[in-house]
């Protein structure tokens, strides 16, 4: 694959450089030839999927990397047909339930049962079981998760499930208790810069430690993003200089500008303006919670100590509301309005104090 992120992705456990402890455990497990159900969780860009793929390779050998994509059609209870893409190799199958939306129960039931009930016919297969990987498991609906519970126990002979999610918060406890929980934390700054240096070496470019460190910092400890950033910076710049500007995504700049306007003036008109900005961000499919987080952190950075805790507290409240409701714009705007009223009051108090 052409992008460095894909090209230089480690495909075996040995090549994984960060979190060596975790790698060691996984390796031990793979050598015994059997794995339990697993639940990988950790922030994005921490290398969960890479780690899972490397583990699969360790267990099944290189042929686990030969994958194909099928389109499967499912019938929903309301007689709608549902098409989802399924990635599979001889030994495993990957699904992303968020493709199915609220009908993921059907997918889980039908697809996984189908795999679970067919035994491995190939005698030469290295292992008797097949592996089902569920990406973005946090988007599984509760119904689908309950549908998984029994399947996981009943078909233990033929089936192992590896789930991958960013937080265990949305996974029901019965499922968590059936899995081996594997936390993949975000790699540390040192680890990221190490990876960046490795990539740079592989691609034959000059990269100094300090620049790598800077990139690691700017990427929010997201490894994938750090490597993309490195690649973008390499292409757009002649050389890496100490003080060069790191490329940021456009939407982050838009949010920064929004934050600036909010700090400058407070009035319903500003709320109106910010509404159009928020709408625009939403049309670009930036997840609402990401918008809220980014904005809140920007604001926290630029206000007085005294109201920082309150802003974080409010941001947390509105993030919860985002999850409860469905109209993201309501809550994003409510946060903006709330911030304005908080900030206005703070400024007024300041005036009164003097």
């Amino acid at each position: 694959m052409a992008l460095w992120v894909d090209k230089d992705r480690p495909n075996t456990l040995d090549k994984l450089s960060h979190h060596p402890e975790l790698t060691k455990h996984l390796k031990k497990m793979a050598i015994t030839g059997d794995i339990p159900h697993m639940l990988f969780y950790g922030p994005e860009g921490a290398g969960k999927k890479t780690r899972i793929n490397a583990l699969l390779r360790q267990i099944f050998g290189p042929s686990a990397e030969k994958i194909k994509i099928d389109q499967r059609t499912f019938q929903t209870p309301s007689n709608r047909s549902l098409e989802i893409n399924v990635i599979s190799s001889n030994y495993h199958i990957e699904i992303n339930p968020s493709d199915a939306g609220i009908y993921d129960r059907v997918v889980v039931q039908e697809l996984i049962k189908e795999i679970a009930q067919t035994q491995q016919v190939n005698v030469n297969a290295p292992r008797k079981f097949k592996v089902v990987i569920i990406h973005e498991a946090e988007s599984l609906t509760k119904v689908a998760q309950h549908a998984l519970r029994r399947t996981m126990e009943k078909y233990m002979r033929n089936l192992r499930i590896i789930m991958c999610c960013s937080s265990t918060g949305n996974i029901i406890l019965p499922l968590q208790s059936r899995c081996l929980l594997v936390r993949v934390p975000a790699p540390g700054l040192g680890q990221i810069s190490q990876v960046l240096m490795d990539v740079a070496q592989k691609e034959n470019i000059q990269l100094t430690d300090s620049v790598a460190h800077k990139m690691a910092l700017a990427s929010n400890q997201n490894l994938r993003r750090a490597i993309l950033m490195l690649e973008a910076a390499y292409v757009t710049n002649c050389q890496f200089q100490e003080n060069m500007e790191l490329p940021l995504p456009d939407w982050e700049i838009v949010i920064k500008n929004l934050g600036k306007t909010l700090l400058n003036s407070q009035s319903p008109m500003v709320v109106m303006q910010s509404r159009s900005v928020l709408y625009e961000l939403l049309t670009h499919c930036i997840p609402p919670s990401t918008i809220l987080k980014k904005l809140a952190f920007y604001l926290v950075e630029h206000v007085d100590e005294a109201i920082k805790p309150e802003i974080v507290f409010q941001a947390a409240i509105y993030e919860e509301r985002l999850r409860q409701g469905q109209k993201a714009i309501f809550h994003l705007e409510a946060f903006v309005a709330k911030f304005q009223s908080l900030y206005t009051r703070f400024l007024l108090d300041l005036v009164i104090d003097f």
Partner: protein, 725 residues
């Protein structure tokens, strides 16, 4: 009249239907405008002159005091307008050929139409929902009405009343819907009139005469020669959209409570029913201006009982009906302050610092009114079905409303509490369709909260209210974005790409970084001048683009400038229109061309590899017969330069052949030009090509010229693409 009415067993609504224009209850002005419009057809239908004068006359005959009010502003402006339209239309018909009456049920729209028809000497012909209303049917009807003369003794011309037009089916089973036929008729008519004006009013007399005789011209598209009145309840039904554009729209407002009460009183007197005035007023108020409802109620509640008390009327639960208001009036009532007159008084008294007692009294009355209004608003909202739309309208406009909220604490309360409340409940309802409805009633309260915070004396006019469309727009845009994203992710060369990159990552940073990766700081545009680093970058970009299945496509702009556009257009996906657009490096045309060129080479390399991989057995065949790619393109000659496989010796050897060939070729072409003038034909190139190859095969030479009208820039030579790569 009274004799007729004493016959029992008749609905009062029928019995006391107004029989005359002046008996009409309701807004006098509207009635007159309608009459005026119908009268306007007089010249066309009856051949009378001045329409306005005839109304005057016909009304004067009635010798009623109302006549004195005649000639008010409405009419004056109308007259002006008429004089203008009369110029335009040779039949002196009104400018808009169709009248569309709209208003809530029971205010007397149908009655109005019928009476006006009668008043102006037409026989109303009604098409309502009970009739078969298909496109073909209406065509026939209109023809029949406008063209034919009744053979019965009633010689009066027809006037078409299409009742309940909003209930017409809009199913697209046939090609044309009812409405579209109507609209088409009008449009055809307009175009004809325009044409006729240009031709001059020559055949005007003929037409006029034929009109009198009730004939229409057989040939050509029909003009509308009789007034058509359409009646609907909800003007903003989507199906009526087209009709709204072409018709003259008149909204019939319900008569005032007093007017209804007066009418009810008259009916009660006729029926010897004793009801006090207050009772009638309450009834009229509760009905929301629906006279029909009032009459029905009176008739049946008063059965056998000649004495109806106010209490009794109030106790009838049927008294207040479910009213579904048009959506704009719902918004209006949300944003309107109850009884703004009282409120203004209240404010004034505050400023005047009058006595406390008076102050309190006014405040009290205001509060009473407020409670009443809240109840009214609650009832209104209860009858609304599309809360989502209403809410969206409130949400998109509440900040624009002129509210007295200096600290903004109220506005933030809306967003903090009520919108959250609404969204949670709404989400619950939509998530569990089976039992979510139990919470449906609570959806009203957030809207009430909007009223409490955002009301102002002017209602919707207090701010600049717009119909909520942003949400839909945002939804459709983001949907388009995500489908684009998914398409992009699934079309890449690597099949597992989509598995590793999901949509969120794509929108949050992958897209931005890909675009940055695609815009290198290459300033030199000649590949020969590239240093090692630049070459590396170039090849890197090309591999990325190949892997992601991206390409630069040459397009011509409207100004005729050639530009290279990224395909699929990822760069358009990141554009943010709002506030100081972010500066992004833009690639030069030449650089794009260079990349595109290199990309083509890579693609060819890959495809030829693929071919060879797929059929290794055919490999010798390919080398022998096919895959002779003729490198006439400059870019390939470039490549040829780089990796020249042609032995110089061979070329040298063949130069003599070429010379010889050139001379023969010249002769050939000369012959061709003489015989069929093919040189001017664009196909001639292909022709000469085949010709040359034939020649070559005859001479068994491997190098040849393409002779192109005395100009040639390439020596041709069969090259196998594999050798080049």
């Amino acid at each position: 009249m009274s004799l007729k009415r004493n016959v029992g067993g008749k609905l009062w609504t029928e019995k006391y239907k107004p029989t005359h224009f002046l008996n009409l209850v309701g807004n006098d002005r509207i009635n007159r405008v309608v009459l005026q419009w119908v009268k306007h057809w007089d010249y066309c239908v009856f051949g009378k002159e001045n329409a306005a004068a005839s109304i005057k006359k016909s009304l004067k005959e009635q010798k009623r005091p109302q006549t004195s009010r005649f000639g008010n502003n409405v009419f004056k402006t109308k007259n002006n307008e008429n004089s203008k339209t009369q110029y335009e239309d040779r039949l002196k018909r009104p400018f808009k050929k169709i009248l569309l009456l709209s208003g809530p049920p029971g205010v007397g729209k149908t009655t109005l139409a019928n009476i006006v028809a009668k008043q102006s000497g037409y026989k109303a012909m009604e098409i309502n929902a009970s009739d078969d209303r298909t496109a073909s049917k209406i065509k026939g009807q209109i023809l029949a009405v406008t063209g034919n003369q009744s053979i019965t003794e009633d010689q009066s011309p027809r006037l078409l009343v299409i009742d309940e037009i909003d209930g017409v089916s809009t199913s697209r089973s046939n090609d044309e819907s009812f409405i579209s036929v109507l609209v088409k008729l009008v449009n055809e008519d307009n175009s004809i009139s325009l044409k006729k004006i240009n031709e001059g009013g020559q055949d005007h007399e003929d037409n006029h005469n034929s009109q009198k005789l009730g004939k229409t011209k057989k040939k050509g598209p029909k003009t509308i020669r009789r007034p058509i009145i359409c009646i609907c309840n909800d003007l903003y039904t989507p199906s009526l959209y087209a009709l709204r554009e072409v018709a003259m729209v008149i909204q019939v407002h319900p008569p005032t409570t007093e007017q209804i009460a007066r009418h009810l009183k008259y009916v009660c007197n006729e029926e010897n029913l004793k009801v006090d005035d207050w009772g009638l007023t309450t009834l009229a108020k509760n009905s929301g201006g629906d006279i029909r409802l009032c009459l029905n109620l009176l008739q049946f509640s008063g059965h056998g009982d000649k004495n109806l008390s106010t209490e009794k009327l109030n106790s009838i639960s049927l008294g207040s009906k479910d009213m579904q208001m048009p959506i704009f009036s719902v918004w209006d009532s949300i944003f309107t302050q109850p009884n703004s007159k009282n409120f203004r008084k209240f404010i004034n008294s505050k400023f005047n610092r009058s006595t406390a007692g008076k102050y309190m009294a006014i405040l009290e009355s205001f509060l009473v009114n407020y409670a009443e209004y809240s109840q009214y608003l609650y009832n209104t909202l209860k009858n609304v079905d599309d809360y989502d739309k209403i809410m969206q309208g409130c949400f998109e406009n509440y900040l624009k409303m002129n509210t007295r909220d200096l600290s903004h604490s109220k506005l933030s309360e809306i967003s903090e509490i009520w919108l959250y409340f609404y969204d949670t409940i709404n989400n619950f309802i939509s998530k569990s369709p089976s039992n979510g409805y139990v919470l449906f009633g609570y959806l009203i309260y957030p809207l009430m909260a909007f009223h409490r915070v955002c009301m102002n004396p002017l209602g919707l006019d207090g701010g600049d209210f717009t119909f909520p469309s942003t949400d839909n727009m945002v939804n459709s845009k983001s949907k388009a974005f995500s489908t684009n994203a998914e398409q992009f992710l699934s079309q890449t060369q690597d099949q597992s790409f989509k598995a590793r990159w999901n949509k969120n990552i794509f929108s949050t940073y992958l897209l931005d970084y890909i675009l940055r990766i695609l815009s290198p700081n290459l300033t030199v545009t000649n590949i020969e001048l590239f240093n090692h680093d630049m070459k590396k970058k170039l090849s890197h970009i090309v591999t990325v683009m190949y892997g992601l299945n991206l390409s630069f496509v040459q397009n011509k702009t409207e100004e005729g400038i050639y530009i290279f556009e990224l395909q699929p257009p990822l760069d358009k996906m990141t554009s943010y229109s709002i506030q100081n657009p972010i500066q992004k490096p833009v690639l030069k045309y030449q650089v794009k061309m260079l990349i595109s060129h290199e990309l083509d080479i890579v693609k060819m390399k890959q495809t030829s590899h693929a071919i060879l991989d797929n059929n290794p057995s055919e490999r010798p065949d390919i080398t022998n017969k096919q895959q002779h790619i003729f490198l006439s393109d400059t870019r390939f000659s470039n490549a040829l330069k780089n990796k020249n496989d042609v032995e110089p010796k061979e070329v040298h050897k063949r130069t003599s052949n070429v010379k010889e060939f050139f001379s023969t070729k010249k002769n050939d072409v000369a012959k061709d030009e003489g015989s069929s003038n093919l040189a001017a034909n664009p196909d001639s190139k292909g022709f000469t090509d085949t010709k040359t190859s034939n020649d070559v095969s005859e001479k068994e030479a491997n190098v040849w010229f393409q002779y192109n009208e005395g100009y040639s820039n390439a020596v041709r030579h069969p090259v196998i693409i594999r050798d080049l790569l």
